[in-house]
């Protein structure tokens, strides 16, 4: 082996390095792909995303266009899923509803994820009284049923999309905080972090280069896993009458509104519930698949 260093060759290899990096993700993707259920989930979610983006092209109707004289109509050629209690085309509202659902879901997980991951990082890394305070707060909040606390919080701040996000998020973050903290505690104690200090890494650098990248997959998985909870919680709040406001086409409120017409127009509640189930199931499958894919040790063997 010649020891003279050929810079050009090496640079070429550095390029490969970048390719390999993507292929890391690619490997994860391969593992993910192998899981049939998660592929089904992914396709569900892609369908919903597609619908959310192209809703206006998929339907000739306006989701807010009421028609008092054609309300609660049966499904027909004209209105594939019939009309709702204000004579609006139900399918159109459900299609547009995917926008609200994704928006609410994403906002919730981002919001609670942001708080939870930050506080989890702080608690895990700083330890001592910071940890004590944050974790006690987590304990306290987790003693309350989410929906009930969210209901009260939504009551405080009034209803509406953003308040739903905040209400659910204010409890939801505890899950992230616990996960992230646990993960950090184990990483913090790990040998490679000690090794990092031994070569002279500074604390911020250790957090940034050693701890965060190792927590990130957990966080990403968490976000996927929490998405269903967020969607269901927001729908339940709508059901209890403290959710997203009409006339926004939100699945939860459509299902809630439709339940009064369950004997007469069962498809309203049914199809709205189906959309929720479809999306939530999709995210659940994905979350499950991701967990396995990101963490090769936990694969079904």
């Amino acid at each position: 082996m010649n020891t003279a260093v050929n810079i050009e060759n090496i640079e070429k290899e550095i390029k490969e390095l970048k390719q390999k990096r993507t292929s890391q993700l690619f490997l994860t993707w391969l593992r993910f792909k192998r899981n049939r259920l998660s592929m089904v989930g992914l396709s569900f979610v892609l369908v919903i995303i597609f619908i959310a983006i192209f809703a206006p092209l998929l339907t000739p109707y306006d989701p807010y266009d009421t028609n008092p004289f054609r309300r609660l109509e049966n499904p027909s050629r004209e209105h594939l899923l019939g009309t709702d209690e204000l004579g609006r085309d139900l399918l159109t509202r459900l299609l547009y509803g995917s926008r609200i659902a994704l928006q609410v879901g994403i906002l919730i997980v981002l919001f609670e994820g942001f708080i939870g991951i930050t506080l989890g990082l702080l608690a895990g890394y700083l330890g001592r009284w910071v940890d004590e305070i944050i974790m006690r707060l987590v304990d306290i909040l987790r003693s309350f049923p989410v929906i009930i606390l969210a209901m009260a919080i939504a009551g405080i701040m009034g209803q509406g999309l953003y308040n739903v996000v905040i209400a659910i998020g204010l409890v939801g973050w505890t899950t992230y905080a616990r996960m992230v903290r646990g993960k950090i505690l184990s990483i913090k104690e790990s040998e490679f972090v000690e090794a990092a200090f031994s070569i002279g890494e500074s604390t911020p650098s250790v957090i940034l280069r050693y701890i965060l990248p190792n927590v990130l997959p957990t966080a990403v998985i968490m976000i996927c896993i929490m998405m269903p909870t967020a969607l269901i919680a927001s729908a339940t709040l709508s059901f209890l009458g403290v959710g997203v406001q009409p006339p926004l086409p939100c699945w939860g409120s459509i299902a809630a509104a439709g339940r009064d017409y369950i004997t007469r127009a069962p498809w309203i509640s049914t199809s709205a519930g189906f959309f929720i189930m479809f999306t939530v199931l999709g995210f659940n499958f994905i979350g499950d698949g991701l967990r396995d894919a990101f963490d090769p040790t936990s694969k079904r063997n």
Binding site: T66, P68, F69, L86, Q159, P246, D260, R264
Partner: protein, 490 residues
């Protein structure tokens, strides 16, 4: 019901306290209606009638300040005590006692004196002539047992209320049901059904399913949608009945200085833009009468000449332009959460107003918050409803009086002329004169669009077809659920 001697009634809201002087909700009224007897009743034609009532007869002195009641003899409370003028007096005094916190307290402030002429005769003296007193202060029909309450206290009463009505209280299983049982010593029509059970179904769909499967026999005030739907369902095994409810539905505006709706032209524009027929089609189908004034159209006080604001978008736009908003503006319209019909209508109104450029955002808030924001002027527009007694329709117009405590609740309306007319109404004994004053008030208020009346609802009760409910009970002044002793199973 499988058992002929029991009728099960579905109600959506659980009565909180069975206390005749503090209750607010219709459901408590339903229950108390069977436990207690009315002091006075109103006939089909809307006039006071002592039939079926605790009062055998009553008389009003010339200047209207002295009212004498003659109490029917032989009426017994469920505990066996006889009902006398003492009890009636006690009841009036309870309403007047501020500490008991009756929300109707203010109707009784006009009483100067209550005099027991004998055990069965009572004389009320009012401070000044107030023709409306009897309507507003007719004790909502429930006479309280003085001795019993003094014995067990108000708490005790609420736990086990008694009255002189056809059914006596058996138990209240919180969250589940209230059970009543036939009172054997009832003075009036003897009940044919032995037990009455009020079951609480907060979830409407559940209640309907329960009705359809025969788990309950009767559901009062079924929402119009469901009513019509059930009615159209063949073979459901259900029967139906309707009556007009003395309840007006309206759009209110925050008319305070700082509000955009302070300008009458804008309110008029809104009035022209709203298509009431559409709203009715939306939430009530056949089950409503469009309102054109503030008094029911069958009543002589109804003002035929008042401006009804037929749909006219041209005119609406013109008014907006005059007011300085040719392109419309953005605003909000509030409805209380959980009130389905109001929310649906508000959404429709949103669509209607959009046609003249007013972008009204729909805001639904919790009932408690709703009461706050509407009363505090934070809601520019809101969808209200108001029920008031008859025969005297004063309740429908009185909130327009600037001194009325209801005034702020409906967004503040201040018109000295209207104030004057309403004061005058109370003093005018002659019916026809008074009706004319009513006409005037309504005409002014309608011109001003103090608020915009939408419709009078027809209320529908749904029940098991095996249940027989006499025809004559389907009357705005009777209402079947208050006369369960007249029901029977076929």
């Amino acid at each position: 019901a499988g058992d002929d001697s029991e009728v099960r009634i579905a109600v959506q809201v659980e009565p909180s306290k069975l206390n005749p002087i503090t209750y607010q909700d219709t459901e408590t009224g339903f229950v108390l209606g069977s436990i207690c007897d009315p002091l006075i009743t109103v006939d089909e034609d809307g006039s006071f009638s002592p039939n079926n009532a605790i009062i055998e007869r009553f008389s009003v002195e010339e200047d209207g300040t002295v009212i004498t009641f003659v109490i029917r003899r032989g009426i017994k409370f469920h505990n066996g005590d006889p009902l006398t003028a003492h009890d009636v007096k006690f009841t009036y005094e309870s309403f007047m006692d501020e500490n008991l916190g009756s929300p109707h307290h203010r109707y009784y402030t006009g009483i100067e004196d209550i005099e027991l002429v004998g055990d069965y005769i009572l004389r009320l003296t009012l401070e000044e002539t107030d023709v409306t007193f009897l309507t507003l202060a007719r004790i909502r029909g429930h006479v309280l047992p003085k001795n019993y309450i003094e014995e067990v206290g108000w708490d005790g009463y609420e736990r086990h209320p008694i009255g002189s009505g056809p059914y006596k209280f058996v138990e209240h299983v919180p969250g589940s049901r209230i059970v009543l049982e036939k009172f054997d010593d009832y003075w009036g029509q003897e009940p044919s059904i032995d037990r009455v059970e009020f079951r609480f179904y907060p979830e409407l769909s559940t209640a309907i399913m329960a009705l359809r499967t025969g788990a309950v026999d009767f559901m009062p005030e079924m929402p119009a949608d469901e009513f019509m739907d059930l009615e159209a369902t063949p073979g459901s095994g259900l029967a139906f009945g309707t009556y007009q409810k003395m309840e007006d539905h309206r759009i209110c505006f925050n008319k305070r200085e700082d509000s955009i709706f302070n300008d009458a032209r804008i309110r008029q524009a809104v009035a022209y833009a709203i298509d009431v027929n559409e709203l009715i089609a939306l939430t009530r189908g056949e089950m409503a009468v469009p309102a054109r004034g503030r008094v029911p159209s069958f009543h002589p006080a109804f003002a035929e000449e008042a401006n009804a604001y037929e749909l006219n978008l041209e005119k609406a736009r013109q008014l907006l332009e005059e007011a300085g908003y040719p392109d419309g503006f953005e605003t909000e319209i509030f409805a209380p959460a959980g009130y389905r019909e109001r929310i649906q209508e508000v959404q429709q109104i949103q669509v209607q107003l959009a046609k003249i450029g007013i972008k009204a955002e729909v805001v639904t808030v919790e009932w408690g918050t709703y009461l706050d924001v509407t009363a505090d002027g934070e809601a520019p527009m809101f969808r209200e409803r108001w029920s008031a007694g008859v025969p005297e329709p004063i309740g429908f117009v009185e909130s327009w009086h600037s001194q009325s405590s209801w005034n702020p609740i409906f967004g503040v309306y201040n018109n000295p002329k209207v104030d004057e007319l309403i004061d005058e109404i109370r003093r005018t004994i002659d019916d026809n004169e008074r009706w004319k004053l009513y006409h005037q008030v309504q005409e002014i208020a309608m011109d001003d669009v103090a608020d915009y009346p939408l419709y009078w609802p027809l209320v529908g009760d749904v029940y098991n077809e095996n249940l027989h409910i006499p025809e004559e009970l389907w009357d705005p002044f009777k209402i079947p659920i208050y006369y369960i002793n007249h029901w029977s199973f076929k």
